[in-house]
Symmetry: C2
Subunit: 478 residues, 2 copies
């Protein structure tokens, strides 16, 4: 009975991929829909997204950005304006060809990303240096008609935010690109307890139409990398084709410099895969829809315990996201498993003996530790406990990432590690696309990024042996 | 110079429709896009929507609803399941026929509304009476391929929320339908300062697929009605075609009863049209993106005034949505017009004399009144002033609605009023669709609703003369 739910979830070590799907469906984060490649985000999953939105949006506004909304539709001619961009996205665009009973004169794309439609507006709005910078973000859905899909990680439709900014100088655009990358890093590490590596993408892996793409890369607990957010310096690629010019203070007409940056519901996939265990989800307290679940342990004095549980619920709900599980059709043991599977950071048990002793039992989801806590200290102890769980989850994930980041300058070792242990591999790389491509073909590992803010000694390229001071991180990835 | 901006806006009494467009474009609420019938919601307009979302979402959660997200795409077969529903929506559906380079086997609709996709999920999730009620809401975009469009009022794509609930009994569903109608009424009247009439739609005007449609109807300042929100009791129409059954406590397998309800970015159109005047927008303080704008009046002691304005800004921004307009390329007079046009409820002027007198000047957007306010009382005075403006704007709109609601039981008078004065007309109506249709054909006025919570004496139907106790409100409408 105790293991009822746990049995229903595939063991993580046995079949990570099936475990991932099991957790999503059983915890009711999401469900498959009747539409090919599209998922339904259920309330428990959507609440995580709402928490992410709230915490990120605050950071965007603090850095001077405002939200707006641009059409979901992009005329084909507009999408085709930037050559690299359309080449990158055309294979996965969903096309609307009919409105009502009529065929459209020009087919329109359902946005895969909004650079083109937004730049077409910026060319109308931006006239003078006084109009700059333009700092706009949009929360919306986008569609990419992917061949193979997986809930949260890769779906035909997903939710995201996309920032689009325009600047007076190349330096301003680069500063914005790096500022937002840092906002992402700080957000993901602080709120999602996910350590990441900040880096720059290779030419081959950069965004279609970007001058430079920066990324934060996280390591999932199966040793595969996940791109958790990207920030693109678009140079003048888009401003030139969309004719976004401004009159500068010196009286010259100049093209603006643009950036774009985004994170998506994919982050929920990252949370599941980085923190989950054989018992199910483990949610970081700061984004958990339920931070504390109260489970009354009913004995002979049912009503007394229930009343006490309800009183606790009333007190705690002012400062915590708390749920009272007073269902009488399930045993406490069943409930323990259920809420562990759903990743609730703290379980609060209260039974007749606890009432006698004026205490409650707090059980940590991250360590399983039981903590007997005096009633009169509950509030501050709980607050500290949630912070400690958040910190501990970050520490665990960081430790995992560090111990699974290996420096290798020998391709035989590289292949062996990718095969057996996975994780991040740091290697010297000459910067040549052919060496990058060779690694991908031979091992399936891709170049995740060239880490920022790190100095490396010279060494030999893993493939061609050329002397270089470039070091890249390679990994199998989602 | 003083009138520079005002001149650029068409006079409201001269050409209401042009005034509406002018205000939207000049105040930068929205802009036309390169996509047919789609608008861009600019940051100033989107912030109104964010405030609406925040205030409504709070109410949804307080009444036990949770948010989720369902796919934007609906397979054609699914959309066609409920006969009345598809008949109502088919003429305005945008169809996706290609994904990437491939033609789809079955074309898919871009959601015009989500009853069908959501009900297909509910049939999977709902098994037992313990699963009921299901109370879910979704914030999203929807697409209706309308022939003629107008920003905020009718666009090919718009943003909205749609609640979708499932219940055990007919009574529960009806109670939910009316509960959410009341949430809308209270929200619109309290936060948007818009008085409305609550009522039920005629058979002819109800939602495609509903058993009953309830509505809140507002009166715009040109005398035309605007449907501000609807709440539908869907009976078992959808549960039967989507096979949403549950095992009741009595051991019987039964169909659930469903509801749906929604409001959209159309509410922003209502705010503009109900409250605006010849000088531009007037925004109710509770949803205004900027509640107070500080305009320093620069004299000889520029720096002292600027410092003081900045100090005030720093103090006020903790409790109010406040903007400091310290641009030096514009005169104070120009700024006054600009911020009046943009509808900011309170202007705070501070000049050298005010500093001497330790006062500021507050100017109300709703009445134009100037209020000299001691610095040390500013905070509480401003708070009270914003509340007073909110109340006054509601009172003005209510007075307008009341004095433009006329009881008429003579078709000649009816025609004359619709022609000359517009507004709401209350008339006896037999309940027959042919009489309703006749009125529409002869006058262009539609049956807005049969008011709830009001008792009427018997009278004769406006058209056929049949004795009836039914009274309906008719109006020209958006």
């Amino acid at each position: 009975m105790e293991n009822e739910y746990v049995k229903e979830i595939t063991s993580k070590s046995e079949d990570f991929s099936q475990w991932y799907i099991d957790v999503i469906l059983k915890a009711e984060l999401a469900d498959y829909s009747p539409v090919r490649g599209c998922m339904v985000i259920r309330p428990y999953g959507y609440e995580i997204w709402e928490n992410i939105q709230h915490l990120l949006d605050k950071r965007f506004k603090e850095t001077g950005h405002k939200n707006a909304y641009f059409p979901i539709f992009i005329p084909e001619a507009l999408l085709k304006k930037e050559a690299e961009h359309v080449e990158g996205f055309a294979p996965e665009v969903a096309w609307v060809t009919h409105g009502g009973h009529e065929e459209l004169a020009e087919r329109i794309a359902v946005r895969p990303t909004s650079e083109t439609i937004i730049c077409s507006m910026y060319s109308k709005w931006i006239k003078s240096w006084r109009d700059l910078p333009v700092l706009i973000n949009q929360w919306c859905n986008v569609v990419r008609w992917e061949k193979s899909t997986k809930p949260f990680l890769r779906t035909a439709e997903f939710l995201w935010q996309e920032g689009h900014t325009a600047h007076r100088t190349a330096e301003d655009a680069e500063a914005e690109t790096l500022r937002m990358l840092e906002v992402y890093r700080e957000f993901v590490e602080t709120e999602l307890a996910l350590p990441v590596v900040k880096g720059i993408k290779s030419e081959n892996e950069k965004f279609a139409g970007a001058a430079r793409t920066y990324t934060i890369e996280a390591l999932m607990s199966d040793g595969k990398a996940l791109q958790a957010g990207t920030s693109h310096n678009l140079g003048q690629h888009f401003s030139k084709v969309f004719d976004i010019k401004f009159l500068d203070q010196d009286g010259q007409l100049k093209y603006v410099w643009t950036t774009s940056w985004g994170v998506s519901t994919r982050l929920i996939g990252a949370i599941i895969m980085a923190h989950g265990d054989d018992r199910g989800l483990r949610l970081p307290p700061r984004i958990a829809p339920i931070q504390v679940v109260i489970v009354p342990i009913l004995g002979k004095k049912d009503q007394v315990v229930l009343n006490c549980a309800r009183e606790l619920f009333g007190q705690l709900k002012q400062d915590f996201r708390v749920e009272l599980d007073d269902r009488n059709e399930y045993t406490p043991g069943w409930k323990f498993n259920e809420w562990e599977m759903r990743g609730v950071p703290v379980r609060l048990e209260i039974g007749p003996k606890d009432i006698e002793k004026e205490q409650v039992v707090l059980v940590r989801r991250d360590t399983g530790e039981k903590i007997f806590t005096p009633r009169n200290e509950l509030h501050q102890r709980l607050k500290a406990l949630l912070e400690d769980i958040q910190t501990n989850m970050y520490r665990q994930a960081k430790q995992f990432m560090d111990s699974n980041t290996r420096e290798v300058d020998n391709f035989e070792d590289f292949k062996k590690i990718i095969e057996e242990k996975k994780g991040f591999i740091k290697s010297h790389w000459c910067g040549n696309e052919s060496c990058e491509q060779y690694i991908k073909e031979q091992t399936g590992a891709t170049l995740r990024c060239l880490p920022l803010d790190q100095k490396f000694e010279e060494g030999k390229c893993l493939i061609c042996g050329k002397q270089t001071d470039k070091v890249a991180i390679f990994a199998k990835s989602y």
